[in-house]
Amino acid sequence: MSDNENQEKWIEDVLGSMNKSERARPKPDLFTKIEQQLDKEGAIAVPILWRRVAAAAAVLLLMLNGLAIQQFSQSNELVPGEVTLEDTYQQSLISDYKIYD
C-alpha cells in the first residue's frame, strides 16, 4: 500500500471512529438532581398558575354580571298594554282606600 493510500485509509478511519459507538451515560444521581430542581421550579410555578386561574375567574364573573345587568334592563323596559307589578301594587292601594264605600 502506498503512503498516499495509507494516509487516505487513516483519514477515513479517523472520520469513522465514532461508528458503532455507544451513547455516553450520565451518573446515576443526575436524575435525582434534576427532579429536585424541577420540584423547586414547580413550587414557583404553582402561584403563577393560580394567578391565571384567578384572572380567568374574575373575567368570567364580570361577563356574567354584564349579562345579568343587560337581561335585567331588557326585562324592565315597558311593553305597551302590559300590566307591571308596580301598577298592580298601586291599584291595590287605591282599592284599600275605598274600603268604607
Binding site: 494516509q7 487513516w10 483519514i11 478511519d13 479517523v14 472520520l15 471512529s17 465514532m18 461508528n19 458503532k20 459507538s21 455507544e22 451513547r23 455516553a24 451515560r25 450520565p26 451518573k27 443526575l30 438532581k33 434534576i34 430542581q37 424541577l38 421550579e41
Partner: protein, 148 residues
C-alpha cells in the same frame, strides 16, 4: 460537551428548559427533535459563555484542555476518536453541529435539518464542507503521526 461536569450542567438546564417551555411545544416537530434543538442551543450558548470567560481570564486558553475521550467509543477506535474530536473543535459552529448530530449522534439527515431549522440540502452542504475541512486538517496531522 467534553467535560463531564459541564455535560451534567447542560443536561439539567435542558430538562428545566423543557419543563418551563412545555406549553410552547406546538408539535410541528417531533418531541425528540424539539429536545435536540433545545440541547444544541443550550450547548452552543454555554460554549459561547465559556469562550467569553476564558478570554477574560489570562493564561487559561482553550488549547490547554486535555484530549477528549468519548466514554462510548469502541476500544480499538479510542486513539482515532481523540484525534477526531480535536479536529472537530476547529470547525465553524454550524459545520460542527451538523457533523456531530450526523456522525456522533447518528441522526438521520432530515432530523438534523429539523433540529437546525435548515433545509436537507443545506445540511448536506454543511456536511460536505465539514468533511473537506476535517480531511485537510488530518492531512496536516498525518506526517506528524507517522513519525510517532
Amino acid at each position: 460537551m467534553q467535560v463531564e461536569e459541564e455535560a451534567e450542567e447542560i443536561t439539567q438546564d435542558v430538562f428545566l428548559s423543557v419543563f418551563r417551555n412545555a406549553a410552547q411545544f406546538k408539535g410541528d416537530a417531533t418531541l425528540n427533535t424539539w429536545i435536540y434543538r433545545i440541547t444544541v442551543n443550550t450547548s452552543l450558548n454555554y460554549l459561547k459563555k465559556r469562550k467569553r470567560l476564558s478570554f477574560m481570564k489570562f493564561g487559561e486558553s482553550e488549547v490547554d484542555k486535555p484530549d477528549f475521550e468519548h466514554p462510548g467509543v469502541l476500544l480499538e477506535n479510542k486513539e482515532n476518536a481523540k484525534i477526531l474530536f480535536k479536529v472537530i473543535d476547529t470547525l465553524p459552529e454550524s459545520q460542527k453541529t451538523a457533523f456531530i448530530l450526523s456522525f456522533v449522534e447518528g441522526l438521520p439527515r432530515q432530523q438534523v435539518a429539523d433540529v437546525m431549522k435548515i433545509s436537507l440540502k443545506a445540511v448536506e452542504s454543511l456536511l460536505q464542507r465539514a468533511k473537506g475541512n476535517l480531511k485537510k486538517k488530518l492531512e496536516k496531522l498525518y506526517p506528524h503521526r507517522r513519525k510517532t
